[in-house]
């Protein structure tokens, strides 16, 4: 494994174990490197969206695809930088199979100075038979100058000028 992939793996582990929501959902990274991340969310009754069918909530797919996409961006970058999702579009092809874990494979296929572009797909067995597909863009160096705990303080008076980013 190259140094970059080793670094991506460490970032992925930090993002899964250090992010309380990722930990609460039990996210695990199965593969990472070369701008690609493969994540898994284990099936649990608590994350169901429609109790009549037992299908995992669409919102869980949103979180999984966002998280996987973020890791794919880190896996495409040579050095670590803060990132934040700018936008995320998700198409739902079919309900997830009740009782089954869901995988998400994200590919960061283009990086510019400020923006990363990602495509992702969620599925159980076959990426060609997707539950959902996603397209996302990320801001790079999103917390430039922001220190740890920055969100604990109220935003500056220029309320309309604060930086974007629900950083994952």
């Amino acid at each position: 494994m190259s140094e970059t992939n080793e670094q991506s793996r460490l970032i992925a582990t930090a993002m899964n174990e250090g992010s309380p929501q990722a930990r609460a959902l039990g996210f695990a990274t199965l593969q990472i490197g070369e701008g690609v991340a493969l994540l898994k969310v284990p099936y649990r009754p608590e994350i169901v969206g429609d109790p009549e069918t037992g299908v995992i909530a669409g919102g869980v797919m949103t979180t999984l695809l966002d998280h996987a996409s973020g890791q794919a961006v880190h896996a495409a970058l040579a050095t670590w930088t803060s990132i934040a999702t700018l936008d995320l579009r998700i198409d739902y092809m079919r309900p997830a199979i009740p009782g089954r874990d869901v995988l998400a494979r994200a590919h960061c296929y283009k990086i510019t100075r400020s923006v990363a572009f990602v495509r992702a797909v969620a599925y159980e067995d076959d990426p060609e038979d997707p539950v959902a597909t996603a397209q996302a863009t990320f801001m790079l160096d999103s917390s430039a100058g922001k220190k740890a705990g920055a969100n604990l303080k109220p935003p500056k008076a220029t309320a309309m000028g604060t930086k974007p980013g629900a950083a994952t």
Binding site: P20, H67, T85, L88, D91, N151, K163, A166
Partner: protein, 139 residues
Amino acid sequence: MSEADNRLVAVLGSIPYARFLGITAELAGDEMTAILPFADHIVGNPMLPAIHGGVLGAFMEMTALAQLSVAAPLKRQPRTVDVSIEYLRSGRPLTTYARATIKKLGRRVANVHVEAWQETRSAPIATLRGIFLVAPTED
């Protein structure tokens, strides 16, 4: 409680993931505000700390589903066809609110816009535009 109130409580109470996130809602006439209380387990970035972008997306999608349940009795839960989410500001460790506007409720498809904010309604932290398949009751 009005019938719409009952439908709203039933919908949010029936979605396990809504309970997992702690989502509630208040209804004033036909205007609904969904509420996502801050909790440690919804954090995505523990350094800032910031609410997970996926949680904000999920919250706004459920706001849209809840608003659809308020608008009309439906045979079953609407199915999400697609959502498009814009992230405008970092989700700070505060209560988040959301309101949905149904742009069109057709026979098969509903178009819904949602806005989420924290302290300042005029400075939203995220927006969602969604398409939903609906199955209204015939009566």
